[in-house]
Every structure is written in structure tokens, then in C-alpha cells.
């Protein structure tokens, strides 16, 4: 690895004392799955809300042999993903990829890749509000006590009120989960479609919330159960039509507006999954089969 050009930064931007502090928090987070470990979040060269928590976790675990993938709402080519990927290329000279299967660390904003994750991979989530009870109880002292006493009735009341108002649980993202039968955890604003992928995942899942200064984790093979009721079981979103580009079914789709006459298409939110399927010959209803001029 060429380290000669890194003189102006420490490897991976953070200083070593900060990395040690974050590493200690990560180890505690792994030992207490779903519990939010406070950490001394640093100022990063990007605004809060742009994934400073995820960036700090990635910087603390990243090594020169890693292959990094960054996604934003499933896409490798949106602003947040591109700039974070470029950041780590600059400060750590790390190899990057868009292929889920080739990555050792995947930093994600609000999606879990469609491709099944493997042992040895680490998924790092960018988390805006780590406290699932925060919108029900604004006081940190109270939510901390509620977690300590395992007092999660309020969360069930919220889901019940959804049912009373709408006839079904209307929470579609940041859907609360219970980890290993103990802590209720915010899975970050992923669509609830992704919740089942967290359950007994092969990959280690780390969550970093920079502004809120919390790190939490779900080790591999850990129970992650979405909260629900016996008569209103947890359900994931379903889509009427497959992806318009690659024809994939049972994946999470984004709506794309095509014109001002009501035209729209639904395509895979996971761009890597879609590209790989297109490359292997799968075709959806709106797939383009002509020659691509670049």
C-alpha cells in the first residue's frame, strides 16, 4: 500500500486516540446487542446528518486491506455515497467497489443490500436518531430508564394507535425491533422491508449516530424481531410489478417519475443488484436493449 501521500492525515482521518475510544465503544456495543453506547463523537469534515456516525465507525475499523462499498438508499451513485467513498479513498487509499459480494465493509444509509451478506462482512449504518423511544419520550433520562427497566409498553401503544387510526401498522421505515429479546432498537430509517434481513444475519452490523453520539451493534446470528401484535403480525411491503429494468421480484423498489403526465416506473432501489441482474441477461418491462452510447 502506498502510504507516502497520507502524510497530511492520519490513516482514515481520525487520530489514534479517537479510534481507540470508538473501538472500545464498538466492543461494548457488540457485547450488549441493541444497547446504545455513548461515545465522544468528533467533528467530521462533513455536516451532521450526512453520515458522520457511520463515517467514524468505518474509519475506526477500516484497514489497508479492506474493500469498501458505500450506498445511499441502496444506490452507489448518489451524492452521499459518492462523497463518502471519495473521502475514504483520499484519507485511507482504500480499495472501493460497488459489488456487494466483493466488499468487506459496506457503509449504508437506509438500506440493506438485496444480496445476502456473508460471514466476514461488516455493515455500517448511518443513523440519524438512534433512540427508538425519542419521539414518544423526549427526555434522555426517561428513555434510559425505560431501556433499563425494559419498559417498552409505550412503543406498543404507538403501534396500536397506528392500528386504531389506519386499520394496520402504518410505520413503514425505522420500524422498531427487539434484539435478542432484550433491547428495543431503531434499525435506522431503513424500510421495514429490510427488517427480516437483520435477523440472524451472517454479517456484523454496526450503527453509528454522529450527532446523537451513540454506537450500537447487532452481532451475526442474533435474534432481531420486529414488534407486532398476534392479530396484526409484522408484514413487509410488497410490490405489484417486478423491477422495470431487471424484472427482479421480492426486492425493494423505488418509484421514478418519467414525465408530467403521470408516467412512472418502479426500479430496484439496490443499484448494484439491478446492474448485475441486467448484465446477466434479465430484462424488465422498460429495459433498454439498444447500444449504450457513453
Amino acid at each position: 500500500m502506498n502510504t507516502a501521500n497520507l502524510a497530511t492525515y492520519n490513516f482514515a482521518y481520525l487520530d489514534e486516540q479517537t479510534k481507540r475510544m470508538i473501538r472500545r465503544a464498538i466492543l461494548k456495543a457488540i457485547a450488549i446487542p441493541g444497547y446504545q453506547v455513548p461515545f465522544a463523537s468528533r467533528e467530521m469534515p462533513m455536516p451532521y446528518g450526512w453520515g458522520t456516525g457511520g463515517v467514524q465507525v468505518t474509519a475506526a475499523i477500516l484497514g489497508p486491506d479492506d474493500v469498501l462499498k458505500v450506498i445511499d438508499q441502496g444506490a452507489d451513485d448518489t451524492t452521499n455515497a459518492v462523497s463518502i467513498r471519495a473521502f475514504f479513498q483520499k484519507v485511507a487509499s482504500v480499495a472501493v467497489t460497488t459489488r456487494t459480494g466483493e466488499a468487506t465493509i459496506i457503509q449504508t444509509r437506509h438500506r440493506i443490500p438485496e444480496e445476502k451478506l456473508k460471514p466476514g462482512q461488516t455493515l455500517v449504518y448511518q443513523v440519524p436518531i438512534p433512540e427508538p423511544l425519542r419521539f414518544l419520550e423526549p427526555r434522555e433520562t426517561e428513555t434510559r430508564k425505560m431501556h433499563a427497566l425494559e419498559e417498552y409498553g409505550l412503543m406498543h401503544v404507538k403501534l396500536y394507535e397506528d392500528i386504531a387510526r389506519n386499520g394496520h401498522i402504518a410505520t413503514t421505515y425505522a420500524y422498531p425491533v427487539k434484539v435478542e429479546g432484550r433491547y428495543v432498537m431503531d434499525p435506522s430509517p431503513t424500510p421495514k422491508f429490510d427488517n427480516p434481513k437483520m435477523h440472524r444475519s451472517e454479517a456484523l452490523q454496526l450503527f453509528g449516530a454522529g450527532r446523537e453520539k451513540r454506537i450500537y451493534a447487532v452481532p451475526p446470528h442474533t435474534e432481531v424481531v420486529s414488534l407486532d401484535f398476534e392479530d396484526h403480525p409484522f408484514e413487509i411491503q410488497s410490490f405489484e410489478n417486478p423491477c422495470a429494468l431487471c424484472g427482479a421480484e421480492n426486492v425493494y423498489l423505488d418509484e421514478v417519475v418519467l414525465d408530467d403526465k403521470g408516467g412512472r416506473m418502479f426500479v430496484c432501489s439496490d443499484t448494484d443488484h439491478c446492474e448485475q441482474r441486467c448484465a446477466s441477461g434479465h430484462r424488465g418491462s422498460l429495459a433498454y436493449d439498444g447500444e449504450i452510447v457513453r
Binding site: 489514534e16 472500545r24 466492543l27 477500516l62 484497514g63 489497508p64 434510559r144 435478542e180 456484523l204
Partner: protein, 202 residues
């Protein structure tokens, strides 16, 4: 070698990269209890502390982490070595220690004497680094819990005879409790507080 030489030598030659690779190995072992990590420790702490435990100390300890040492380690050149390389203070108080180090064949104190964390802040507990004779070849245990697909079998050699009982008491306090890092030679294994240890007949 004189005491001074022992104190000022034996740190990471490339702290950034060597501590990162030790950390990744440790993190993988903590996330997957029963996994045995192998890595060259790359440090040389003063005896009687072993190299792997020394690498864990330099990788995780600094001025923010009071360290508790067994009498055998406290009487060695180790406190000065930790002060020089990591800036970590040594404490006599197990309750304030963020890390504790137990050298090979030293008595493992009752786990409940160390900081357990509180119900509000279960992360404020001691992580205990225990040197054992070997990570294999001892009395077998079956492990279950987060990070383990079905079960894992480990047979660390050099743990106290009553270890399974000590650990089940620690396990009962969840989410409070201590986490263990076991080291031997170039090998490392972890027992986070979530892991359930079932003794097997040898």
C-alpha cells in the same frame, strides 16, 4: 535487559496499522464467540505479561482507561511500560478499572469484584484480558448466544475449574457484567457477557 530498556521498548512499530489489525481480529472474535483469532502481536511487553495481551493493552488503553493489574503484573515493569506506550493509569480499584489484565497462571479474581456497569449504563464495565495456557486442549465448553449460529465448542486450557459457574453468575446479571478476552501466544478468543457457557464432559 534492564528495567528501563523493558519499559521503553516493545511497543507497536507501526501503531496505526498494527493496532488496526489487532482490533479487527479482536472485533471479529467478540462478534463471533468461539472463533479463535490468530495474529502476530507485534509488541513485546515486560514479563510476565504475554505479547498478545500486551498488544490488546496498547490497542485499547490510553489516558481515559484506568487499568487494574494483578499483584504479579503490578510489581513488574508493566505499569511503567503502559504509562510510556499508552499513557494508561494503573488503579487498585477494580470498580473504576476499564480494563484488567491477568497473566498466565495468576488467580482469576471473582468476576463480580470488577465494575459491572449499571442498569442505565451497562457499558461502564470492566473488560478483563486473561492469559491462558492455550485456546485448545482444555476442558470443552459448548457456547450459545448472539454471534453463534447454533453452537460453538471451545476448550481453553488454563481457566479456573469453577469457570462455568463463575461465568453463569456473570451471565445472570445481563445487561450488566464483564466481558472476557482470552489470549494465548498468537491466539485470541472472546467471551462477551451474552454468551452462555455449557460445560461438556471431557
Amino acid at each position: 535487559m534492564t528495567i528501563d530498556t523493558l519499559v521503553f521498548t516493545g511497543g507497536f512499530r507501526e501503531p496505526v496499522f498494527q493496532s488496526q489489525s489487532v482490533f479487527r481480529t479482536l472485533m471479529d472474535c467478540m462478534a463471533r464467540p468461539g472463533t479463535i483469532g490468530r495474529i502476530a502481536p507485534a509488541v513485546l511487553p515486560p514479563p510476565p505479561l504475554g505479547a498478545m495481551a500486551g498488544a490488546v493493552a496498547l490497542m485499547l488503553c490510553d489516558q481515559d482507561t484506568p487499568v487494574w493489574l494483578t499483584p504479579g503484573l503490578a510489581g513488574s515493569a508493566l505499569p511503567a511500560w503502559l504509562a510510556f506506550h499508552a499513557g494508561a493509569p494503573v488503579t487498585d480499584d477494580r470498580q473504576t478499572a476499564r480494563f484488567a489484565f491477568i497473566e498466565k497462571a495468576a488467580l482469576l479474581p471473582s468476576l463480580s469484584l470488577f465494575a459491572q456497569g449499571t442498569q442505565d449504563y451497562p457499558d461502564r464495565s470492566t473488560t478483563i484480558v486473561v492469559e491462558i495456557e492455550a485456546v485448545e486442549g482444555g476442558r470443552p465448553f459448548r457456547l450459545t448466544g448472539p454471534g453463534i449460529r447454533d453452537e460453538a465448542i471451545v476448550a481453553p486450557r488454563g481457566l479456573p475449574d469453577l469457570f462455568a459457574q463463575m461465568w453463569s453468575e456473570n451471565r445472570r446479571a445481563f445487561p450488566c457484567g464483564v466481558d472476557l478476552v482470552l489470549t494465548a501466544g498468537e491466539e485470541i478468543a472472546c467471551l462477551p457477557r451474552t454468551t452462555v457457557v455449557h460445560p461438556l464432559e471431557a
